[in-house]
Assembly symmetry: C2
Homo-oligomer: 592 residues x 2
C-alpha cells in the first residue's frame, strides 16, 4: 500500500495512488462527515487537517442559521444501486473499439457508465442520483485512451460510426457539462482521460513543461514538486480536476495573482478535432501571428474536440510561503481595503475576503479547543469585541497567502498590513489564514453530508466590477429570501459569500447557499428554480454569467443576455466548421 | 494654430492638432533628417529631444559600419507624384456611399488613395513608392466613417455591391497588411477610422474606459492624461498607430511588464462583421462563459471585420516614473541578468537590452557635447574602459523605466541594481536610460533618410525561449553576412538587436538591419529575399514568426511551419462562416 504524502503547504495528506473516489459524491471514500455524538460531527479519515476532530459548534450553528432542527427522521438513505439504462452500443462499434484499443480500455460496466454521466452539480446531479430519480440518459461506453494516437483513433471511429464523444477529466464540473443531452439518439462514448497523465518533458531553462491533459492537479503538483517546481494553478478542485478540464472550463486558481489563471498558465495546447489536430508547432513566449488557435481551447467545454496535452509555465517552488489573516469591522470595509490594495500593485498570491456568515461558518468548524487554544480564542474575542468594538454579527475577514522570495514577501507584508489598518483591519495571525484555505477542501463533503438530511446546498459565482459588488450581494440576499418564501421553504435560507479573486476592474464573488428541502414537493426542482432566479438577479446587477465554473447546460439559457446574436452565430458557425457531424455533442454553452 | 504640448515623460512635443504627416514616409512633415554640413546631420523641427542638434559622429559611424562612403551622387530624388491607377468605383456604388455618408466622408483623390494602399514596410512599400515602381493596385475609394452606424452601413453596402473593405488605422503596419491582393478584381474601399476617436465613457471607479477604435495612441494618452490616467500601452508607433490597429495586430507595448500587452489591456471590443456585430454585452473582469468572442479580435488583421470600439483598462498616472541604465561587459552577461531578474518577480515597467552595435548606434546619435557633457563622457569612458576593463566592442547596455508608487519603484531599484552587479553590470545613470527610449521615436526617420542614399533598412522581430536567444542572434548574423555576399552587396551589412520584452519563458528580440543597395540590380527585391532568408533562420532556431508585427502578407508563406493543417483549416472555415463573400478581403495571414 502506498503511504500518504503530507503536503506541508496545504496540510493535506495526498495518497499517491490517487485514493478511491466516491462514485457520485465529492472526493474520496476515506473522507466523509459523520455524527460522533447526537449533537456533534467529525470528518472521517486523516486526509485533511480538519479530519478526526469533534466539532461541537457546527450543528448548532447550522440549525441556528437555517432556523430548523437537524432531525434524525429527515435522514434519507442513499440509493445503493441507481438504475442504469442498457447500453445502446452496437456489436460493430464495440468490435471496432476493442480492435483499436486494449480490452481494459473499453468498459460497458453500469456503475462506470453512470459515474461518467454527471459532474458535481449538487442538486441537479448528485442529489438526484442518490435520493431522487436516477438519470434518464447515461453514456453507453466508457473508453480510456492512453495516447494521442488513441484519441485520434477514437475521433475517426466516432466519425465512421456516427457516435458522440464526451471528454471526461476529473468529473468535477458544476455546470452540467457532462449531462447527456436528452434529445441525443446516437450512442454516447465517454472518453476518460485519466490514463493520459504523463509529464512529457520539463524544460527547466525556459521554465515550461509539456503535460498530458488527463493529469489531475494533485498528480501534476506531486510530479513537478519532485523537481522543485509548481504550476501555481490551485483551484478548489485541485485534488481531482484535470489540466484538460481546466482548459475546457477556462479555470481560475486561488493563487492567480502570482501565477495567473489557466489562460495565463497554458502557453499552447493540442486539440484533436474532427477537422484535424489544432496545435501551434512553435512554442514561443508571445506571438502576433494572426488569430491564435489556442483561443479556441479556453472555455471550449468539450464542444470542439479533446485536449490531449499542453505546454504550461512552471515555477520554482517559492522560497517563502506565508499565511496571514485580517479582521475588518464590516464586509464593506474589507472591500474598500481590497480595492485600495489592488491599486498599490503589490498583491499576495491569494487574498480572499469572507463575509460575516462565512466567517462564522468557519469558526463553527473549529474542534474542541485545547486549554491554550481556548485562552487564545478568548483573548482574540476580548480584543475584537471589547477593545475594538467590532460587532460579531458584522465583521468580515481576509485570508492571505504570500509567496515569493523573502524580499517579495517582506514587501507584500509591508504593504498589506499597514494599508489594512487604515480600513480598520486587525491582523488575525497566520494560523487563521492557513485554516481558511484548509477548509476549502472540506466544503463539498459538508454539502454531501447535509444532502442526507434534505438540506440542499451549492456554490455559485460571478465576476463583477468593483462598483457593483454590494448591489449584487444585496440583491442575491433579497432574492433568495423572497424566493424561499414563495416556495414555502421551512426556516431560513443560508447565504454566505467571499471575494476569492480581485482584478483591475472588479472581483469574483463566490456564494454558498443552502436551505432545507424538508416538506417541499420536489425539493431539487425548487432549488434549481431558485438558483436560476438568483443568476438572473446577478446579471441584472451587472455580474457575469460565470467567473470560472463555466456555462455547461445550467447556464446556457442566459447566454443571449451576454452575447450578441452575431457572437453566438459566429461561434455556432465555427462549431459547424470544426465538427460538422457534432461528434462532440455535449451541447454545452451556445452549442445546444 | 494649436500650441505643441510637451510630454515630460517622453520629452516629445505633441501637436494636439495631430500634425501633418508625410504622405508615404514615417511620421510628420516637420521632422526629417538632413545634412547641416557636408559630414554632419541633424533632425529637423522641434518635435523630439534629438531635434535641432548637429550629430557629428553619426555619418562616420554609419560609413564605418557599412564599410562604404555615403556619397552625394548616390542620392536619389523622391518621386513627387507617384502614378495612381484610376478608380474602379462605379457610379452606383458612389451614389450609394454618398447617400449613406456625408460628402466629406468619401474620397476618390489619387493621393489619398495611394496613402491608404500601404503601410510602413520600408522596402516593399515606402521605398518602392518613392524610388522604384509605383504600386500596381491601390484602393478605389477612401471612406471616413464617423460612427458605428456608419460602419454597419458600409458593411451592408459592401455586401450589396460585392466590394472589398480594408480597415485603415494609423497606417503603421510593417507586414504588408494594407497591400491590395494582386488577384483582387473587385472595387476596394479603404475604411479610414481616424474620425472615430472619441472616448465614449470613463469609469473611474472600475478603472476602465470605452474608446472608439480609430483613436491614435497619442490622442488616447492626451485625452486620458487630462483626467490623470494612462492606458499604459506604449508601442514604438504610439504617436500614429490606433487602438483598432493594436487589436488587429495583437500589439505589444514597451511597458507591458506593468500594463500588459494589448490582449491584457482590452477587456472587450466590438467587431462589426458581415455575420453581425460580435460583442460581449456584459463588461466583467474575467469570465468562464465558453469560448470568448474577444479571442477572434486579437490578430484578426482586418480579415473578419472592423473593430469599432473597445473597453480598455485605465491606470492612474504613476506616482513615480524613473529611468535607469546599466552597462554590461557583454550581451551574454546582460541576458543572464535579465533572466535572473525575471525570476525575482520584480520587474520594472520596461527593461531593454541593446547589443554592442545598437549601443554604439545610440552613442553615435549624440550631439556636440557641452564642456560638462564632454567631461562626463570622458569620465564615463575612463571608468568603463580603464577601471573596469570593459571592451568597447563587446559591451551591452540596458535601459530601464520604473513606474509605480514610490515604494514600488524603490523595491524595483533595490532589486535591479544589486542583481546587475553580480552579472558585471554598472549603472549608467538615468539620463542614458531616458535617452535610449527617446531615440525610439527617431529610428524610422533615420530609415527614410538613408533610403535616399540607397541604404535599405528595416526592423524585424521574433519571440524566442531564453535558451535560444544566442542561437537566433548568431544565426541571423551569419545568414545576413552570407546572403549579402551571395547577392554582391557592397561593403558590409549592419545588424543590431535588442531584447525589448522579457517573458516567463523567453524574450522578444528586435533586430535592425541595413545595407547599401548601390550597384544592385533591383535592390528592393534583394532586400526582400534576404529578409525572407533571415526569417527562415529564425524559425529554424526556434524563434516565432512574429512577436508583435503580425503576419500580413510578407510572413504568410511561413505559416505552415508554425500551425498544423488542422489549425489553418479551422481558421479558414471560421473566416467563411463570418465573412462568406470575403468582403474583408485583405487576405492577410492564413486567409490568402
Amino acid at each position: 500500500m502506498t503511504q500518504p504524502v503530507h503536503d506541508r503547504a496545504t496540510g493535506v495528506n495526498y495518497d499517491p495512488s490517487g485514493g478511491e473516489r466516491h462514485a457520485h459524491k465529492w472526493g474520496f471514500t476515506d473522507t466523509y462527515f459523520e455524527f460522533d455524538s447526537p449533537s456533534t460531527v467529525r470528518l472521517a479519515g486523516n486526509r485533511y487537517p480538519l479530519a478526526g476532530h469533534t466539532l461541537p459548534a457546527f450543528i448548532p450553528f447550522v440549525e441556528a442559521m437555517l432556523g430548523i432542527p437537524l432531525r434524525a427522521e429527515d435522514r434519507q438513505e442513499e440509493r445503493v444501486d441507481p438504475a442504469v439504462p442498457d447500453t445502446s452500443a452496437t456489436g460493430d462499434l464495440l468490435e471496432a473499439l476493442e480492435g483499436a484499443l486494449d480490452a481494459d480500455q473499453v468498459s460497458l460496466d453500469d456503475r462506470e457508465r453512470l459515474i461518467h454521466s454527471h459532474g458535481q452539480l449538487s442538486v441537479d446531479e448528485v442529489y438526484r442520483i442518490l435520493y431522487r430519480d436516477a438519470l434518464e440518459r447515461v453514456v453507453d461506453v466508457v473508453v480510456y485512451p492512453q495516447s494521442e494516437e488513441d484519441v485520434r483513433t477514437l475521433v475517426e471511429l466516432a466519425d465512421r460510426f456516427d457516435i458522440v464523444l464526451i471528454p471526461y477529466g476529473g468529473g468535477t464540473n458544476v455546470s452540467g457539462a457532462l449531462a447527456i443531452p436528452s434529445q441525443e439518439r446516437r450512442t454516447v462514448v465517454s472518453v476518460d482521460m485519466q490514463r493520459m497523465s504523463r509529464i512529457l518533458w520539463i524544460d527547466e531553462v525556459n521554465r515550461q513543461a509539456c503535460v498530458e491533459a488527463g493529469i489531475s492537479g494533485k498528480e501534476l503538483e506531486m510530479a513537478l514538486g519532485t523537481k522543485g517546481y509548481t504550476s501555481g494553478h490551485d483551484p478548489d478542485s485541485v485534488e481531482l480536476s484535470t489540466l484538460g478540464g481546466w482548459i475546457a472550463t477556462n479555470a481560475s486558481g486561488m493563487k492567480k495573482n502570482r501565477y495567473g489563471n489557466i489562460e495565463d498558465i497554458v502557453l499552447e495546447a493540442t486539440l484533436v478535432t474532427p477537422a484535424g489536430v489544432v496545435e501551434t508547432l512553435h512554442i514561443t513566449p508571445r506571438n502576433s501571428t494572426g488569430i491564435q488557435p489556442r483561443a479556441l481551447l479556453f472555455g471550449s467545454e468539450g464542444n470542439f474536440g479533446i485536449v490531449t496535452k499542453a505546454v504550461i509555465k512552471i515555477h520554482p517552488r517559492p522560497e517563502v510561503q506565508s499565511y496571514g489573516s485580517l479582521v475588518f469591522p464590516s464586509f464593506e470595509k474589507g472591500v474598500e481595503f481590497l480595492h485600495a490594495l489592488r491599486k498599490t500593485g503589490v498583491l499576495p498570491a491569494s487574498i480572499r475576503l469572507v463575509n460575516n456568515n462565512e466567517f462564522r461558518f468557519g469558526q463553527a468548524l473549529q474542534g474542541e479547543p485545547t486549554f491554550w487554544g481556548s485562552l487564545r480564542r478568548r483573548l482574540q474575542r476580548f480584543v475584537l469585541f471589547q477593545l475594538k468594538n467590532f460587532d460579531p454579527k458584522s465583521l468580515a475577514a481576509c485570508t492571505i497567502v504570500m509567496e515569493g522570495t523573502a524580499a517579495e514577501v517582506a514587501q507584500q507584508r509591508r504593504t498589506i498590513f499597514p494599508l489594512a489598518r487604515s480600513y480598520g483591519g486587525i491582523s488575525g495571525g497566520s494560523s487563521g489564514g492557513k485554516r481558511g484555505y484548509m477548509l476549502t477542501f472540506s466544503i463539498a463533503y459538508i454539502r454531501d453530508f447535509f444532502n442526507q438530511y434534505q438540506i440542499l446546498g451549492e456554490t455559485f459565482e460571478t465576476s463583477v466590477p468593483w462598483s457593483r459588488i454590494h448591489d449584487v450581494t444585496r440583491s442575491v440576499t433579497e432574492e433568495l429570501e423572497r424566493q424561499t418564501k414563495v416556495h414555502g421553504v421551512a426556516g431560513r435560507p443560508y447565504l454566505s459569500y467571499r471575494l476569492t479573486q480581485t482584478y483591475h476592474t472588479g472581483v469574483c464573488i463566490y456564494f454558498t447557499m443552502g436551505f432545507s428541502g424538508v416538506g417541499l414537493d420536489r425539493a431539487d426542482e425548487v432549488y434549481h428554480k431558485i438558483e436560476q432566479c438568483l443568476r438572473q438577479v446577478i446579471l441584472d446587477q451587472g455580474g457575469s454569467l460565470s467567473h470560472h465554473h463555466g456555462v455547461g447546460k445550467i447556464r446556457q439559457q442566459f447566454l443571449p443576455q451576454i452575447q450578441t446574436e452575431g457572437s453566438i452565430k459566429v461561434l455556432q458557425e465555427l462549431k459547424k466548421a470544426v465538427d460538422p457531424k457534432n461528434i462532440f455533442g455535449a451541447r454545452n454553452g451556445v452549442f445546444d
